[in-house]
Assembly symmetry: C2
Homo-oligomer: 257 residues x 2
């Protein structure tokens, strides 16, 4: 028997093996339910599923074939100077709402969702075919909610779902995973007004728990393991009708436009 | 009996309860060993300890009393305009190597370690006394190594230690925890040259696993729970003589100076 877990002090992060190569129009919730069952995992209330963007985009047909992209003169020139694929540059420009920085072959964009990331979230890895790339889902919150509601219905357990993607950061090397879509849980945990053990009232502390959940999940997912979904058990989240837009800093407080 | 764990697909994050209020010159490794033992936890090879900066700074006497800080005219003027504590502004300037942004009452600094964060990492929470603040450790890698070597000696298990702190990010709301000191493990995991399941060779993927470990730990630590240390079990890290400096992006590739 596993000893009862203290929800405040132990967390488990379990990679879901056995999810097959995802194709357009696949039912992700069903694939996840089947994989969990085969692994002997029954969903419990309070479980959180972290689902990587890649399989969501594939299931939703949010992929593009570079062979079908005609680059503009601007994209061709930038690609020529920095030795990039002009078709990819073109697609990045099309998927971006705003260019934050464009230099040295790198394109930091703001996507139409408001996320600031390299290449508008377009990625060549973990998709079949040499010229196929994945794009971000159109509405990752809706993607998360579709998975959540189907699994709540099938399992009877109220769970949370987070769609994760891998973003770089300024000032720090390496990437971490962050939340681009969310359903069923509050993405931010505010301590404002709460007192620490010394009686000091916290004034500005807000934790981006949805991003931390994605980073935690990435530790079991990796990039080449073929495990695209993780179950996080033991995190006492605040249930909420929520959106990943809460994680996007508005222009008024953005010091790095 | 707990079933054997697949190290590639399950991670446990366990908060260490029972660490007392830390005072200057306390032996952190001993406090951690005692707390783990009281919780029935024996260290195993491959375990990772995430230790929050706050207790490291306290043990090393890296605190300051605002009552003893005489603000410069520059600090006084900035504090007056933005209704901040001039003594805190003064201390931030003294702890900074470079000001990255200074506006709207916010000061984004580069610390002498190279970390870019608000207020040079100075923090008023979770320290006793109304005017006491914590400063970053002088050499957080050395702090991590002291804890690591003492625990390796006492337990016989090769573990990794990461010192975490809570940083904000541009473009995204809320904070996540990141690594400011490291001992015994490689902070970055590179996939460069590795093929994904479709045979596509990854060219730029480097995960900041040390930062992800800190964010994962934060989910059990919280800000007011009085749990300053987490044990992460099941992450197959690369042992290394390492430094958190690897996580700091150099000026040549920094697009947001």
């Amino acid at each position: 028997m596993r000893p009862p877990m203290d929800p405040r002090s132990e967390l488990r992060i379990i990679g879901l093996r056995g999810i097959p190569e995802v194709r357009s129009r696949d039912d992700l919730a069903q694939l996840i339910l089947t994989a969990a069952e085969e692994q002997g995992l029954a969903f419990e209330p309070g479980d959180i599923l972290v689902v990587t963007q890649k399989i969501v985009s594939k299931a939703e047909g949010r992929v593009a074939d570079l062979e079908e992209v005609a680059p503009s003169p601007f994209a061709r020139e930038y690609a020529r100077v920095w030795q990039r694929d002009a078709r990819l540059v073109e697609l990045v420009l099309r998927e971006a709402r705003r260019i934050v920085r464009m230099d040295r072959g790198i394109i930091i964009t703001e996507t139409r969702h408001g996320f600031v990331c390299a290449n508008a979230g377009i990625d060549r890895s973990n998709v079949p075919g040499n010229t196929i790339v994945s794009l971000l889902p159109d509405d990752p919150d809706a993607s998360a909610e579709r998975i959540r509601s189907a699994i709540v219905t099938a399992s009877g357990s109220e769970i949370g779902v987070v769609i994760s993607d891998t973003f770089g950061r300024p000032w720090r090397e390496g990437t971490t995973d962050v939340a681009i879509g969310i359903a069923g849980l509050e993405p931010l945990h505010s301590y404002v007004g709460v007192e620490d053990p010394h009686g000091y009232e916290l004034r500005a502390s807000v934790s981006a728990v949805a991003d931390e959940l994605c980073s935690a999940a990435e530790l079991v997912l990796g990039k080449v393991s073929g495990i695209p979904v993780a179950l996080i058990r033991g995190f006492a989240f605040t249930p909420a009708v929520a959106t990943a837009a809460s994680l996007v800093r508005g222009p008024a407080t953005d010091m790095f436009r």
